[in-house]
């Protein structure tokens, strides 16, 4: 547990020393979500209809943007070797890195989403569901993405490969995440979508770090 906290603390401290990386993802999300209302025009019904999809896809792409830097710096400077030799199991340390990634990319996006939802004319209750779906969905994206990041580590052109590998895996999260918001918009019950999203998060949270650790050991070979 102390090794988990040590990795988390180190990654957060590193992010504080190079804020630009964190701000890039957040700014990207804001810009993407703002471009659509500008391009489509001020038609409230249309905007409301496309809002869940746009905001979810935006959050997805923003989360993908910082994935390439999840393990690469540790791999390049040898920290990953030391993590593999730790007394603590590697999956625990990986889980700490993914948690840090979520705190630095997923959480800011989630907290910002109601503000962006205003541009699409969503009402308060729908904003609440959007916030909730992203709160469960963004850690899911981080866990799935981390497996892709670990698999493409050290591969030439890994960044492009990472997108091709991870985006299809994001589809279930996207379908149920934006589905929950849409259900609320059309006055339906959104509990089912949220439950499935939650179940996927639990599965990814349990198996993701383990799969990552296996992939990282292959990268270290």
């Amino acid at each position: 547990m102390s090794a988990f906290m040590a990795v988390l603390q180190r990654d957060l401290r590193l992010a504080l020393r190079r804020k630009s990386e964190v701000l890039t993802a957040v700014f990207f999300f804001v810009v993407v979500a703002t471009l659509f209302p500008l391009a489509i025009g001020p038609e409230p019904d249309t905007l409301r209809k496309i809002a869940p999809g746009i905001l979810w896809v935006g959050a997805m792409l923003a989360s993908l943007l910082s994935l390439g830097r999840l393990f690469a710096p540790d791999y390049q400077d040898g920290s990953l070797e030391q993590m593999a030799l730790s007394q603590a199991p590697l999956p625990v340390l990986v889980a700490a890195k993914v948690t840090a990634h979520w705190l630095l990319s997923g959480l800011p996006l989630t907290l910002l989403s109601p503000l962006l939802a205003l541009q699409f004319g969503l009402d308060t209750s729908t904003m609440g569901v959007l916030l909730l779906s992203l709160l469960v969905g963004t850690p899911l994206l981080s866990f799935i993405g981390a497996v892709g990041a670990a698999l493409t580590l050290g591969v030439r052109g890994g960044e492009v490969l990472l997108s091709l590998l991870v985006l299809p895996l994001y589809i279930p999260a996207l379908v149920f995440g934006s589905g929950a918001v849409e259900a609320q918009l059309s006055g339906l019950e959104y509990g089912a979508q949220m439950s499935i999203l939650m179940a996927m998060l639990l599965l990814a949270g349990f198996f993701g770090p383990w799969a990552c650790a296996l992939a990282l050991r292959i990268a270290l070979e």
Binding site: A84, L93, L220
Partner: protein, 204 residues
Amino acid sequence: MLSVAELSCVRAGHTLFRGVGFDLAPGECLHLEGGNGVGKTSLLRILAGFSPAAQGQVRWQGQLLGSSACRLNQDLLYLGHQLALKEELNALENLQAGAAIAGTPVARDAALAALQRLGLGSRAALPVRVLSQGQKRRVALARLVLQPQPLWLLDEPFVALDGPAQDVVAGFMAAHLERAGMVLFTSHQPVDIGGRSRSYRLGA
């Protein structure tokens, strides 16, 4: 005790070495010699468990490397070419974070004392980014006095160090041998570890 028997290593279809064998008992030091590209680093990485050997066996305390009973992974301190330092953090933060991630946290005072022994006391609060190559390596080598593992695998520990720093590091190694530790290191230069070092030549 570490024992290596009939070890061979193949990289990209090319045999780097074969038939490598030696024993390392507590209190012993082995200086791994050989020209560039004979596989010194590859040998250390096999022992550290990063890459598999093509053939042969590695045993640690009688247990085969790769078996679940083998504790080699926990018992070794590996220092490779990459120093595992974060450029944005200062020397002290790097040491403390590194030790905590390794599962053996150290107090701030102990980390500072280790840096002082390597002549970096006044540089402890500077980001590692601004240190010189030799100073960075000193920061990485400070781990030697902080972490308690019995087996040290050091890949070129003396590179980029000046004379006095080399003596300090050789002193760390000698003290570790006194405590019945084990050291396996590579170096292209002759090094005196209190007269207790054997050498093993890799390659033809």
